[in-house]
Subunit: 314 residues, 2 copies
Amino acid sequence: MGEFSFIEWIRKRQKRRKDVALGIGDDCALINVSADKLCLITTDMLIDGTHFDLKRCAVRDVGRKAIACSISDVAAMGCRATVAVVSVCFPNNTPESFARELYKGIWGIADKYGIGIVGGDTISGDSPLCINVTMLGRDEGLKPIRRSGARVGDAILVTGKLGGSILGKHFNFEPRIREGVLLNKHFAVHAMIDISDGLTADLNHILEESHVGAMLYEERIPISEASVELARKTGNTPLYHALSDGEDYELLLTLSGGQAKKAIASPLFEKGTFSCIGEIVAGKKMQMKCPDGRVRRIKPLGYEHLKSPVRKRP
Amino acid sequence: MGEFSFIEWIRKRQKRRKDVALGIGDDCALINVSADKLCLITTDMLIDGTHFDLKRCAVRDVGRKAIACSISDVAAMGCRATVAVVSVCFPNNTPESFARELYKGIWGIADKYGIGIVGGDTISGDSPLCINVTMLGRDEGLKPIRRSGARVGDAILVTGKLGGSILGKHFNFEPRIREGVLLNKHFAVHAMIDISDGLTADLNHILEESHVGAMLYEERIPISEASVELARKTGNTPLYHALSDGEDYELLLTLSGGQAKKAIASPLFEKGTFSCIGEIVAGKKMQMKCPDGRVRRIKPLGYEHLKSPVRKRP
C-alpha cells in the first residue's frame, strides 16, 4: 500500500458535517467553533529511524522538529499557530535526562513562535522514540488558504532554496509562519502548501486538488547548496534533489502573475525570498521546460510512507 | 523516572496564556476560542505491547479503543466530543487490509458517538503499531468539570463496576459521555475524572488537585465480575483489582451529599449506575474503612508509565 492511496481511501469515506469547514486532504482541517471563528487543526507523527536518527542527532533537535513541522502546516494555510498537545512514547527504561532534553527542544521553538503546550500524553513501550504533535491555529479574520484554489495562468512561487534537507535543514528550518500570514493578509494567494514530501510531490497535491496542470522552468528551480553537496555523494543531479527531496518546509503557492510580481518586489519580505518556478496550465500534467526549449513530463517524486520509495532521476 | 513526576516537571514549566483557560493537568485542556466559547482538547497515545497486544486482539478493537479513550476524557469534563485527528505509525510492510481494519474500528465508534475524523497522519516505521488520537470537544454552554473542585464533605460517586478490565472491558467499554453531560447539566458536580490509571490512582489525582483527603468504605467499592474472575488467576483479592486496575473508563466524581442522593435516584440514569464509595475529608490522606470499623491508609495503586509498576495488595 502507499500512503497517498490509503489517505484517499480514508478521505472518500469521511462524512460531511456542519461543524467541519474542511476535512481530510489539506495541511490543516478547519473546524467551525462559533459563527465567525474557525479553528485550524493539524497533526504530525515522527518516529526514530524514519524522521530522525537518534544515533546521529540530539534529542533536543527532535523536539524542535516535531513542533516546527506542525507550525509549517499552519503556515501553509496562511494562519497563525496557537497551542499544541504533545504525545510521546519513550522507549522502555528511558532516563529522565533524555526526556527532559526532548522537552527543552519542544519549549525552545514553542516559545519562539508563541505557541502554548497545553497538554499531552507520556507513555512508554518496546518501541523507538515516537512523538505526535497536534497543533491548533486561528484564522484571525483571514481566510485559510487551501490546496484546491490554483487557477490556470497562475504563477507558481516557492520560498527559499530546495533540496538536500537531510544534511541539516530538516532539523533547523524556520517554519514560514511570518511569510504565510503576510501572504494571506496582503496578497490574493489562490493555493498554498508546505514542502514536506518534496517539491514535485507537493506541487502534485495542489494540481490534483485544483484539477489543473503545471509547467515548470528548469533553470528557475532554486537549488540549495545542500543539494549540490548531496549530489556529489549520491550521484544524482542537484536538480533531482531540489525536485524530489522532502522536508524543506518551504511554502509553495500559486497566485496571479500580477500578484506574484508584487509579492516578489514587496518590502514585506526579505529580498530573494521567492522564486517564480513556473505557471499553472490547463490539463493535469506536470511538465518541465528545459533551457534548450524541450518540454518533458515529470512525475511526482518524493517520500511516501508505507511504500518502498522508488526514486528515479527526473 | 515515573510518568506522574515527569508530567509534574513539565507542568511546572508551562506558561500562563490568556487564550488557555486550563492547561496541563486535567482530562482535557481548555482553550478560549472566542469570547464565550471554550474548546476542549485531549490527546492519547496507544502502542502495541503496552495498551493492547495484537497477538491476542483484533486490530479493529484497537481502533475502537483509541477513539473511546479520548471520548472518555471529554466525558470526564462533562462535555461533548466533536471531532478528532488520528495519527498512526504502521509497522513497515503492513498490508493495506490490516490498515483498513484499524480504520473500521475507528469509524464504528466515531459514528456511534457522532465524532468526525477530520484529519490525521499516516506513517510507517520499524516500530510496533502506534496510534495517537487528539479529540476536540465543545462546552455547549456548560462549565467543564475539573479535577480540582472537590470539597470536604462531598460524597464520592463512581459509575459501573470496577476492576479486571484486562479481561475485555478495556476494549469494549462504552465511554460515559451521556452520563458525563447529564451530570454536568443537571447536578452541581464539584470534581470529576475518568478511571484510566485505576480507582485509587485517579482518586489521588482529584485529591492532589483539590488539596483534600478521602475516606473510602471497603464494602461499597463496586467490584466487577471480571475482578472476581481475574483474582482467581492472580491470587490477588477482587477488591485489589477493583482498587488498582486501570482502563475501566468509568467516571469518578464528587458532589454534595444532597446532590449525590438526587443523582443516584434520578430517572435520567439507569438504575444502579452509581455507587457512593466514600467521602471527601480534610487533610491529604486516602483512607479506607473496613467493615469491622478499622481504618487504614491506602496508597494510590495503578499503572504508571515510565516506571516498573510496583503493585502490592492494599
